[in-house]
């Protein structure tokens, strides 16, 4: 099997499992809606939602993403499925990229739901800036899932399990938070796409670096 086919086989397996069980998607979508509801009722009525929408959106994306990531490797841990995969002649990098791809598809679907729900609840003008917002969400999610997939495998093998995941991920994801929130905020306030070009470039650089690093070091995480 070629490298690309290995990636798509692993990703396809994860997505098929998800289509059949729907447990991660249901969890992530419901969580996203609930966070939006909590924000609606916890914000002071005098606060203009659009002024803090960037922060609200990214907080929800990060925590919904972590909720889904937790399942990514505990799933493989059940009945030692991971050993089975490692015994097949699948390249370790392809294994990582496959898992990453499946996680990314789930997160992007969740992100779309998050944007739509916040757009509905807080009357955000998403239509005008959809291209820019899509680009920021895409690169931000790629970076997030590259680091996230790598360390969800680490967290799954510790006694703390998923509890460890936010502790490991949030400090690493600081650049994504800074560049993602400010760019989203600016676009929602009606600023031109050119103004956030630097942010998009940084998010893309973060994404590229950690997809490559993740694929390179993943062997050390799963091998013994």
């Amino acid at each position: 099997m070629t490298f690309m086919r290995q990636i798509f086989t692993i990703a396809g397996k994860d997505l098929l499992l998800e289509v059949r069980s729907r447990e991660r998607v249901v969890g992530m979508f419901t969580f996203a809606v609930l966070v939006a509801v909590v924000f609606s009722f916890s914000l002071d009525p005098t606060v203009q939602a659009i002024r803090i929408a960037g922060a609200m959106l990214w907080v929800t994306i990060l925590f919904a993403g972590m909720l889904g990531l937790g399942r990514s490797f505990t799933l493989e841990k059940e009945q030692d499925a991971l050993v089975g995969i490692l015994l097949t002649p699948v390249d370790r990098s392809a294994f990582f990229l496959g898992k990453f791809l499946a996680n990314l598809v789930l997160l992007l679907a969740t992100t779309l739901v998050i944007f739509l729900v916040y757009g509905l609840f807080f009357q955000l003008p998403l239509g005008g800036a959809w291209a820019g917002l899509g680009m920021i969400a895409l690169f931000g999610c790629i970076g997030f899932m590259a680091v996230g997939t790598l360390f969800s495998a680490v967290a799954a093998s510790t006694r703390l399990g998923d509890t460890l995941l936010p502790i490991l991920l949030l400090p690493l994801l600081f650049p994504v938070v800074v560049f993602g929130t400010s760019a989203t905020q600016l676009l929602l306030l009606g600023r031109p796409l050119l103004e956030v070009y630097g942010n998009v470039r940084m998010l893309a650089a973060f994404a590229l670096i950690f997809v490559v690093v993740g694929a390179l070091v993943f062997g050390w995480v799963v091998e013994d």
Partner: protein, 186 residues
């Protein structure tokens, strides 16, 4: 004086994380257990130095601006580096298979060290878009006091790391090895 100590402690802690990243990469490539002992010593010593640095930062902020915490570049960087070091120690200590914990922690240290320039860059970028006054102004153009403090603290840091590494290596040799490699799977 507090400013000098605070700034130098930030530099030492950041250097600690960078050194930990390099040593971890070498440990992953060679599997040399001695490198892991040094890495562990660096992480714990950096945590101690970083904690003192954070307290000094809070004190400095209280004296200069009469608030306990400001999201000022240097202090924020120190907090993030400190949290990354916590992650390293937590991974190491929370696995049932010690060899796997060491390797996972080394991967985390390596990724953190790669992330370090990106974090610093995003902090700088954040500072230019949300300007905030830093304690830099109190130092003036004179650079040598801070370099001297940094040099002294770095020597102290290296001394503590060496002492810890020796002690841990001796302890590890006397303790029986645990965790069989065959049971080591996620």
């Amino acid at each position: 004086m507090i400013f000098l100590l605070h700034a130098a402690l930030v530099w030492v802690t950041v250097c600690g994380l960078a050194a930990l990243g390099l040593i971890s990469l070498r440990f992953l490539l060679t599997g040399d257990e001695r490198l892991d002992v040094i890495g562990q010593a660096i992480a714990r010593t950096s945590l101690a130095f970083g904690l003192i640095g954070l307290l000094m930062g809070v004190l400095l902020s209280r004296l200069e601006w009469a608030t306990l915490w400001r999201w000022e570049g240097r202090l924020t960087l120190l907090l993030l580096v400190w949290l990354l070091l916590i992650g390293y120690v937590v991974i190491r200590d929370s696995t049932d298979v010690p060899s796997r914990g060491r390797r996972h922690a080394a991967v985390y240290a390596l990724v953190s060290a790669i992330d370090l320039p990106l974090i610093e860059f995003s902090l700088r970028w954040y500072r230019t878009s949300h300007p905030i006054e830093t304690a830099e102004s109190t130092l003036g153009p004179d650079r040598w006091p801070i370099l001297l403090t940094f040099g002294m603290l770095l020597t102290l840091f290296a001394g503590v790391v060496l002492w810890r590494a020796r002690r841990d290596a001796a302890w590890r040799q006397s303790a029986p090895t645990s965790g069989s490699p065959t049971s080591a799977r996620i």
